[in-house]
Amino acid sequence: MIITLYINGKKESVECQPGEMLTEVLRRAGYVEVKKGCDTGNCGVCTVLLEGKPVLSCSYLAVRADGKHITTIQGAAKEAEEFAHFLTAEGADQCGFCAPGFALTVLAMKKEMPNPSEGEIRHYLAGNLCRCSGYEGQIRAIKKYLEADHA
């Protein structure tokens, strides 16, 4: 079946099977910045924004995204690059595999919670696992990123 997706502001008509998950369809359409991680709904690597909300694309039926707006990390490149400066400054970029999903979740959090506490940050990011276990550096980076935004 053919579905229409608005990916990073661009209208795309893509073919998918009824039982296919969004990760597969996005990657097949060339959006390979959407990473495949655990593929079991646990690690957060495949996160995209669907109508502005973070979802696991590995666990979201592609057909349900028909007509919806999807943002991958490429679609949020400017904000992601700003955030990346803070990540690298704290040595928290490490292997980078979790970074696309992680950065998108941080950007969603920033919109939803303008001034989160450290506890709220940790809670919001609980679904983004880092295989390098660089969590402390990530938390420092997020706090400095948000502080800079408020300055």
Binding site: G19, N42, G44, C58, S59, V63
Partner: protein, 263 residues
């Protein structure tokens, strides 16, 4: 999971027809579909039916649509105003916000999953599951006995004046619970439910009788009810914990839940 045909009905009547007469499978959040190797001849998408709502309903009830996500439960001002942090406590340990933006109330109920946090809280609250076009069944009965024949879950009805507490133990924050428990004062009686035994949620009827209709039971009475809950239920062993361990730690959870509600 392979879905051979996919339908997106626009009305509940159409959805019911597809489920009942064409043997379609209603699809909730669909987060677990990928883990299944079965072939689904007809998938019935419920996401276009306007079933994502949390609202007040007469008399003194709150209704939650079947397609409401866990994240919506967690952040609902109405649920927080009525039940405090109950729903946030119940669902906020589940994986991450990205998954909680997908998984739904109806999918959780229909699956009658053993590991469910939410079904335990629903059972304790005395929630009713409403099957379209209107049949109402106590959630605890549905979790225990299921429903004969094809069904379509429309919503859940909560008694808005009930007061409840949810408690759980997990090995790690985002894992399934080893065991969970919820207790509620409905205004006239106590209800206690235990889930993740690892089997599905059950009411602790003997413990509930022990507490009677006294809104402020003594510490001693609470202790007795907590022990009774552990004695009356069956527990199993799995990769997360043994039956003995589950039985041993349950009284502490029931005690905490009862004390939190009693105040």
């Amino acid at each position: 999971m392979e879905i051979l045909e996919f339908a997106s009905p626009r009305t509940l009547d159409e959805a019911l027809h597809l489920v009942r007469d064409r043997h379609g499978t209603a699809i909730g959040g669909a987060a677990w579909l990928r883990m299944n190797t079965k072939i689904m001849p007809l998938g019935v998408d419920l996401s276009e039916l306007g079933l994502d709502y949390i609202r007040e309903a007469a008399p003194d009830s709150i209704e939650i649509g079947a397609m409401t996500t866990y994240r919506e439960l967690e952040t609902s001002p109405l649920l927080e105003a009525r039940f405090g942090r109950l729903f946030s406590t119940t669902v906020s340990h589940i994986v991450g916000i990205q998954l909680r933006n997908i998984i739904t109330v109806g999918g959780t109920l229909a699956g009658r999953y053993g590991f469910s946090d939410l079904n335990t809280t629903f059972c304790a609250l005395g929630a009713k599951v409403i099957f379209y076009p209107g049949k109402s069944v106590d959630v605890a009965s549905f979790i225990q006995d299921g429903e004969e024949g094809p069904f379509l879950i429309e919503k859940v009805l909560l008694p808005a004046s009930a007061k409840a507490s949810y408690q759980q133990v997990r090995i790690t924050a985002n894992d399934f619970p080893i065991i969970n428990a919820a207790a509620a004062w409905t205004g006239s009686s106590w209800r206690i439910a235990v889930g993740s035994r690892p089997a599905a949620s059950r009411l602790c009827k003997k413990a509930m009788v022990l507490l009677g209709n006294e809104p402020y039971p003594s510490d001693e009475k609470i202790e007795q009810a907590a022990s009774a809950a552990a004695e009356e239920l069956q527990f199993g062993s799995d990769i997360r914990a043994s039956a003995e361990y589950r039985r041993e730690i349950l009284p502490a959870l029931v005690r905490r839940a009862l004390m939190e509600v009693r105040g």
